[in-house]
């Protein structure tokens, strides 16, 4: 019988070994899958069973905090005293709809779940300490309020960043929504509110400032101008393009007209001041060619995954397919004429697309955030800083756990080109279409854009990008303003509609410092 008893022992060992293997599967190998499994309400119940830290603006305005409630296992709910003003950034923490925005991105820090928050010292094992973290945003409430007030009830976005650090100072999209509608504890009411927001044709849940792309129109000409200056063949004063009413692309394509049927030309400085479509289309297609234009656009962050510390940011696009190479520009010159300085610029089958892309049309699309960091890179001597909305995470006692240090994302252009462009954009603000964004006592640079969307009925997005700073000093703020095409407002241009919003933002930004 002893042999059978040993066999029985072996059988028990095998059974328990299989049990141990299965335990490892459930508690280790697949534990994370189960923890985030759809239908597992433990994470939500945990989130709503404890206090979370505040989310505050750089100037100390509380945008989110926890309110104690007594409703079974739910002990706290979130309150958003600033209503819709930070909805797209702070997001919401909803029992029914999950978390969104910073509430999701910084969930662990807000809940105090990270190890360094849990155990500051050994004595914390024995005392009930508030371990929640406070998330401090880079956004300033005064600028955010000014942006929201200036845009008013027009669909659009305003993004302001500090060019020197990448700190986002304001980021507003209208329409927005009130996150308090989603953070309540009345499940059916929350679901109904969410459905209403979801079905709204203007999509207030969508943060168009960084999650939606638009034709940038003429504001993109600053990128084309940067590429032109980088090429070395073009300066702000040389060459001078003769006035014309439009540009006819090579080898074939429909005529690109100037805005409002005007006639324009001149050197790069003047062409930018006049926002001359014919000149920039020709520069893109005949002077720079696809390779240089794609390189510059990508140096500015187009066609790359965005780097902001918020989820679901959209990629800005610059087209890269221009068909097959056909010939150099020389091939299109009359027999016997002297060679052109830009004569070896390659001409592709679809160079007409490049001509349109150079003025921000065709498939060029950008988020307002992207255009803000384009302006910021120009203002910051070509260095494009990584945009971010969180400055630091603090403990309940005010100690700093994490600081977001400024970091370089990419080098958009050389410092020389950047300083030329700064001069050109200051000129546009002083003498050109961007006059509406001037603020007394500041050096302001800008570029307007009016992206035409169609003719029946005529409608257009009004844009402005720019920067401002004390005279002789580096710019302290860069902005992008987009006012979306409105029904019944066919004539809106960047200069008339968007520039005053930028002006209001600049005024708010410098009001505190007495400028």
């Amino acid at each position: 019988m002893n042999r059978r008893i040993r066999n029985l022992g072996a059988a028990f060992i095998v059974m328990y070994a299989v049990l141990f293997a299965q335990l490892n599967r459930v508690q280790f190998v697949q534990a994370d899958d189960y923890k985030t499994h759809e239908g597992n309400v433990r994470p939500q119940l945990r989130a709503f069973g404890q206090e979370r830290g505040d989310i505050v603006t750089a100037d100390g305005v509380v945008a989110a905090f926890s309110v104690p409630v007594e409703a079974g296992e739910i002990e706290f709910r979130r309150d958003y005293p600033t209503g819709d003003r930070y909805a797209h950034i702070v997001g919401y923490q909803s029992f029914n709809q999950g978390a969104f925005g910073l509430e999701r991105q910084y969930n662990d820090q807000l809940a105090g779940a990270r190890l360094d928050q849990q155990f500051d010292s050994l004595k914390d094992l024995f005392v009930d300490r508030d371990t929640t973290g406070t998330v401090v945003m880079t956004l300033r409430d005064d600028i955010q309020q000014a942006a929201a007030a200036a845009l008013g009830e027009r669909n659009g976005s305003v993004v302001a960043v500090d060019p020197r650090t990448g700190e986002v100072l304001a980021m507003w999209t209208y329409p927005s929504f009130d996150p308090n509608l989603l953070s309540g504890l009345d499940g059916p009411a929350v679901n109904a509110a969410y459905q209403t927001l979801l079905n709204d044709p203007e999509n207030p849940l969508l943060a168009k400032s960084f999650r939606e792309v638009f034709f940038p129109g003429s504001t993109f000409k600053v990128v084309t101008a940067a590429s032109a200056l980088e090429s070395g063949d073009i300066t702000l004063t040389e060459p001078v393009w003769p006035d014309s009413s439009g540009y006819e692309p090579l080898p074939a394509g429909s005529l690109i007209r100037n805005f409002g049927g005007s006639t324009c030309g001149g050197d790069l400085m003047l062409a930018l001041q006049r926002s001359c479509n014919a000149t920039f289309a020709e520069i893109g297609a005949e002077w720079l060619g696809p390779d240089a234009m794609i390189r510059t656009a990508e140096n500015f962050g187009f066609n790359a995954d965005p780097v902001i510390d918020l989820p679901d940011a959209a990629r800005s696009q610059f087209p890269t397919d221009y068909g097959a190479y056909i010939a150099d520009l020389d091939a299109y010159q009359p027999e016997g004429s002297p060679p052109l300085i830009n004569g070896d610029t390659p001409i592709h089958e679809n160079s007409a697309i490049l001509a349109q892309a150079a003025i921000g049309q065709n498939d060029v699309k950008a988020t307002p955030l992207q255009m803000a960091i384009v302006a910021a890179a120009i203002a910051n001597d070509g260095l494009m800083m990584r945009p971010h909305v969180v400055a630091e995470v603090q403990s309940a006692d005010g100690d700093v756990y994490d600081t977001v240090e400024p970091s370089l994302w990419r080098v958009a252009m050389s410092p020389g080109v950047a300083s030329e462009l700064q001069r050109a954009m200051v000129n546009v603000a002083e003498n050109g279409t961007a006059g509406g964004m001037q603020v007394g006592g500041l050096t302001v640079g800008g570029k307007t854009g009016t992206a035409q969307l169609g003719t029946t009925p005529a409608s257009s997005h009004a844009w402005v990008v720019g920067f401002a700073g004390p005279p002789g000093m580096p710019a302290e703020i860069a902005v992008a303003v987009l006012v979306e095409a409105q029904p019944g407002a066919s004539e809106q241009t960047g200069g008339t509609v968007a520039a005053p919003i930028a002006q209001a933002v600049f005024e708010a930004a410098f009001a505190a410092s007495g400028n």
């Binding site: 019988m1 059978r4 008893i5 508690q27 280790f28 239908g39 433990r42």
Partner: protein, 440 residues
Amino acid sequence: MTATARRPAVRPQIAAVRPRRVELGLIALIAIVVVSAYGLASLGESASVPADIGPFLAWMLGLFFFVHLAVRRFAAAADPVLLPMALLLNGIGYVMIARLGEDVGGGLAGLQSVWTAVGIAAFVATLILVPRVRELAQYRYLLGVGGLVLLALPLLPIGVEIRGARIWVSIGPVNFQPGEFAKIALALFFASYLVDAHELIKNRIELRDLAPIGAAWAASVGVMVLERDLGSSMLVFALFVVMMWVATERTLFVGLGVALFAAAGVVAFQLFAHVERRIDAWLDPWADPQDTGFQIIQATYSMAEGGLTGTGLGRGEPDRVPVAESDFIFSAIGEELGLAGTTAILMAFLIVIGSGLRIAIRATRPFEKLLAVGLTTLLGFQAFIIMGGVVRLVPLTGVTLPFVSYGGSALVSNYIVLALLMRLSHEQRVVSPSSSGTSR
């Protein structure tokens, strides 16, 4: 049993003190573990030391020391590991039940501490009342019939149905599960029957000799059908197959047993909705997450939440799993003590199984050998099917985790099993020097 009480207990002889010293050391360690766990569970929940830590400490230490002294007096040569393992499992289970406290309805901790005392009393009583296990063999048919009667008791009007299974009996204020005691009676019956029959069965198989396996099979299927008690029927069936196999040394009986059980299972699956539900919930609980799959899914989330080291005692939500205090106490341990804690539970049971089988191997006579195998199988297999059920390795059958789960009947019967194993161990150690390894 009482008939044997008039015989004087076997006095310990040489080398009998050493195992008790080992046992005392282990019990002291386990007392520290259990008392610390009790304190930590309270700290984890409310960040304060429990007010009743003093009385609890005194109660635990008192019980532990008392049972140790009883073993010194009545089974001084017995295996030194079995009792500490049982106390560890019982202690961890008690801390968990106390920690679940109000979350699962409250008041259970007080009852469980009473049941622990009753279990330990039953343990000591068994040591006193059964000085020689062999003498129980003469009550073979009484035990066999008694076991079947106990198994069938809930079918009488005094039976109560709880959560779909009719395994409880209620007489006045006392509720208990007679099935827990039936298992012991049946193990004794099987051991004594097989000692007489095993020579016959070993040499040639006659239908007449197969009658007991038929009866056992019929009884377990009968229980499954009438009481909807999958766990106990599986356990009793496995008990008999294992004992038959060890007694006859014929693998045929394992094959035959498995085939019969499979046949019964298929029939049950097709005839009874509750069996089909259990199988469905085992194969794909997520097909019906709010109903049939709810319990097992919640247990899976609970154990996954625990991960490697657990949420910490008092810091999880193990009560989210229905009946966390009994059938699902293993998932509660998995959540708050993690894989480390569940592995410790597994190891404790493996040590119990190892000690039990070592007692079986050392036993010199077939009855003692078979009984040790049967008692060990009862503990080891029952622990396996409930832990395996909770982690979805095998279909879920509602049985308790021995020594750990809340429940008086289970605690008392498991302590009786433990006492019988220790009595067997004591007998062989005490008698073997003088009898030189052969029967007296």
